[in-house]
């Protein structure tokens, strides 16, 4: 039995019509989705294997509306599931029960740009790339760059503490976030952090980042802007074996170099990305590294020479440095579209494990072995510099039972990551996808302590429930420690 089939049991508890009445009084008609085929469009995100039709979808325009919606959800104790662009690979935006989906995509205004203090304050639904685009002409950018940065929203990035290719040098969301405005489960509006590095008191911002919509609904964010480097150039290195590429990455880092990005693609990934981007990737190598060095022309030249010197010990069969902006753009387009481009070949389950760099080649070999034992093909695309693996296990979604098998295969891979000293998620979050695997990483005491934090913020357990924590343990916890819902839901 698949770990997700239990979900279905949770659905279809009756929800009072008065919820709709309250929402209709608050919002205009075009902010509420109630029709069945419209709700269907909101039943899943980028993890389409799991889907549950929400009870209602609402699209607020302001923090005040979000607060009022939260208050309604609290009043009736109905699950409230925040959604940005719905690009979660872990099912973070899937409503697992008869939920109100609160879609923040219309809150897409940039509120303030302060170049002197290098900050931008934006509404929750602004896309990651839109922040960089807004300050591009002024020579700044927002650093974390998940592959879905074109469409994913900043609030989604905060929920999942998203990373990206260039986070090797600049850190992930939590290292680039200064403050948030957040609506609590009860509908109160709170501010955490602000346009400074170290807020007074406890660092609540760090708890909120990566809380997967379980502690509150972020409606505004203040993020750090960085000056754009003078220039940047990607270098392509092709190898005949995964081992050689993996060892090369470890050697570069161990030698004290910190290129802005080190990305790894294996053969199936190279081929499908090349079709979309025409980046000139070598098609005859087993593994390809994209290493980006940035700075002034001189710095780039020196950096590339140093890396090439280290790489030469591992006999790369292909070496190419991008010579023009267009070449560089095509190389990154290919990498950033990798997940989608693989759709040309097959459906897949995208894993998101982290391992210590020193274990890279060992783990890669093991992943191939595990997938082989399930008779699945696997494509590997990942942020090699920080050990964040994304094996994409290819399967036929239309074959009965295949999803359950692919889940099992994925679980084995993540277990391997944990055993190697790593963890089960690097940047996609736990969501529903890895919920049951949290037990690999934490024992019950750890999980209980984490859930106690959620309970402080969300006493009715309404905010994006049934995510992050293993279902049975979460249920047991709630029976033991939760005060019965305070809602007047008779």
């Amino acid at each position: 039995m698949g770990i997700f089939s239990k979900l279905q049991d949770k659905i279809k508890s009756a929800v009072p019509r008065s919820v709709i009445r309250d929402l209709s009084e608050l919002l205009s008609e075009d902010q509420i989705v109630l029709d069945q085929s419209g709700l269907k469009a909101y039943e899943t995100d980028a993890l389409t294997a799991i889907k549950v039709i929400p009870f209602v979808v609402v699209m607020p325009h302001t923090t005040e509306e979000v607060a009022a919606i939260a208050a309604i959800s609290h009043k009736y104790s109905i699950p409230l599931v925040p959604r940005g662009a719905g690009t979660s690979l872990a099912g973070g935006a899937i409503p697992l029960s008869n939920a109100i989906v609160i879609c923040l995509s219309r809150m897409n205004r940039i509120l303030d740009i302060d170049l002197t203090n290098r900050t931008a304050t934006v509404q929750a639904g602004v896309t990651n790339l839109a922040i960089s685009a807004a300050v591009d002409r002024d020579g700044f950018f927002y650093a974390p760059d998940p592959s879905s940065q074109l469409s994913c929203t900043i609030a989604g990035n905060i929920a999942m503490n998203s990373g990206g290719a260039h986070c090797l040098k600049y850190g992930v969301t939590t290292h680039n976030l200064l403050g948030v405005k957040m609506v609590t489960a009860e509908g109160e509006v709170l501010d955490f952090g602000g346009p400074y590095y170290d807020p007074a008191g406890y660092d609540f911002l760090s708890i909120i980042t990566g809380s997967e919509g379980g502690l509150g609904i972020v409606t505004e964010a203040t993020v750090m802007l960085r000056p754009k480097p003078e220039g940047a150039r990607p270098l392509l290195l092709g190898f005949d074996t995964h081992d050689a590429a993996g060892d090369c990455v470890a050697a570069i880092i161990a030698a004290g170099h910190l290129p802005v990005a080190i990305e790894f693609m294996d053969k199936p990934a190279i081929h499908s990305c090349e079709k979309h981007a025409n980046a000139g990737y070598p098609l005859d190598v087993e593994a390809l590294l994209i290493i980006e060095v940035e700075g002034s022309e001189e710095e780039i030249d020196v950096g590339i020479q140093q890396i090439l010197r280290i790489a030469s010990q591992f006999n790369p069969s292909h070496k190419r440095v991008a010579q023009t902006k267009e070449e560089a753009a095509a190389i990154w387009l290919g990498r950033k579209s990798a997940f989608g481009a693989l759709g040309r070949i097959s459906e897949y389950l995208c894993m998101d494990g982290v391992i210590p760099l020193s274990k890279l080649s060992h783990v890669l070999a093991k992943i191939t072995e595990i997938c082989k034992s399930y008779k699945f093909d696997v494509a590997n695309i990942f942020h090699a510099g920080d050990g964040n693996l994304h094996p994409l296990i290819m399967y036929d979604a239309n074959r009965p039972g295949e999803f359950e098998r692919v889940e099992k295969c994925g679980a084995e891979i993540l277990e391997l990551c944990v055993l190697a000293g790593g963890c089960i998620t690097g940047e996609h979050g736990v969501g529903v996808e890895k919920r049951e695997l949290m037990g690999l990483q934490f024992d019950e005491t750890d999980l209980y302590n984490q859930m106690r934090i959620k309970l402080i913020f969300d006493p009715n357990w309404d905010l994006n429930p049934d995510k992050v924590f293993p279902l049975e343990i979460a249920e047991k916890f709630r029976e033991e420690e939760m005060i019965k819902p305070q809602g007047d839901n008779q």
């Binding site: 469009a41 699209m59 719905g86 074109l150 469409s151 579209s337 997940f339």
Partner: protein
Amino acid sequence: MKTEFTKRQLRNADTQLANDIFRRCVHCGLCTATCSSYVVLGDERDSPRGRIYMIKEMLETGAAPDQTLTKHMDRCLSCFSCMTTCPSGVDYMHLSDLARQEIEEKGHRSLRVRMMRSLLSETLPYPKKLAVSLWLGKLARPFRSLFKAIGFKEMHAMLELMPKKMKRSAEFAGGGTARPLGQQHKRVLLMTGCAQKVIRPSINDASIRLMARQGIEVVIPKNIGCCGALDQHMGREKAAVQHALRNLKIWQAEEEHGPIDGIIMNTSGCGTTVKDYGHLLSKQKGIAEEVERLTEKVFDISEFLMNSDLRTAEQWTDLKVAVHMPCSMMHGQKITHQPADLLQNAGFTVMTLDEAHICCGSAGTYNILQPEIATSLGERKAEHINRVKPDIVATGNLGCLTQMSHYSSTPIVHFIELLDWAYGGPCPESLEHFQNRVDKLAKD
């Protein structure tokens, strides 16, 4: 994505095609960000991904298209920006055609909308009827607010957008052959666009003059009709097929008078459809090869001119031209740089607009049928034009030209009018105030 069709359902060729398209989509959501309707509306149902999902549901269940699907498909501009973005190569264009056919055949639209759609489909592709309608429209124009007041917003939008001045018809409006100046190198057919030859014949005049000067014989086939794009986008496949078949015959007949080096399009919206005749006519037996042979000769005029040696060495103008690429060129035909390169070579300073991948809101008949969204997009485009402050905006499709002229005070022209001017033709009518600037530069 997983699909749930029965074997029996998949025996239908259209369903099989749809299934193949769904299986490619991984539901990643990248397309939402570059979708011209989603950027305005922010609703999953108004995004390509949402529409694909709803179409899948409709086809799997075999249900008739409901109001939700109809509403959100009607809000799609068919700009196909999503297809440029999609890394999986999902063929949204042909999927949306299928959905539109279903809606046209089995869906529910209000009487008002159906009337409006019929009116457009019965007039726009027919120059004579269009000319008469425009005169009638001129009479009705002063009362356009009345239409809005009674809720006939489409009629209001149409009267608002129609040209205020009627142009004289072009020299070759009824068909004919323009002899090349000097030695003849090539012979082409020019598709002159049904609405274009009535509303802005200067685009065709400029195209003909420019090509004739390049030693190209330009044939404007008599009785050449609509390419079928309008009907196809409205889900009227049969009518579109009839248009396409008739045009094929006319091309073949022209070939009997001599070989054709190109079938030239200067209305990119039509170009996308004509280049795709192979798909539109795929159910017609025994003509596939002939369709392929002929459609391989179809070029946008910018593509065709890239092979002519059009360059100017002299600094004859300092005019700054922002290029607005029509979606049908950029996304529909993947023509990205040709118009800009030609303008650059002709001595103009070329500028780019932010958010160039987003539609201006014209989208065929969209600005009439969906006036609110089209207005948002038109204003958005005008803001981007204002930001870079060009002297002129050049585009490649009459629809964009009309739409942007409505929202921006910057003169909007077809790039071919600028090229013709640069290589010895007259200054385009709307740019006459720049002629002094050009003359002054020549004097200095």
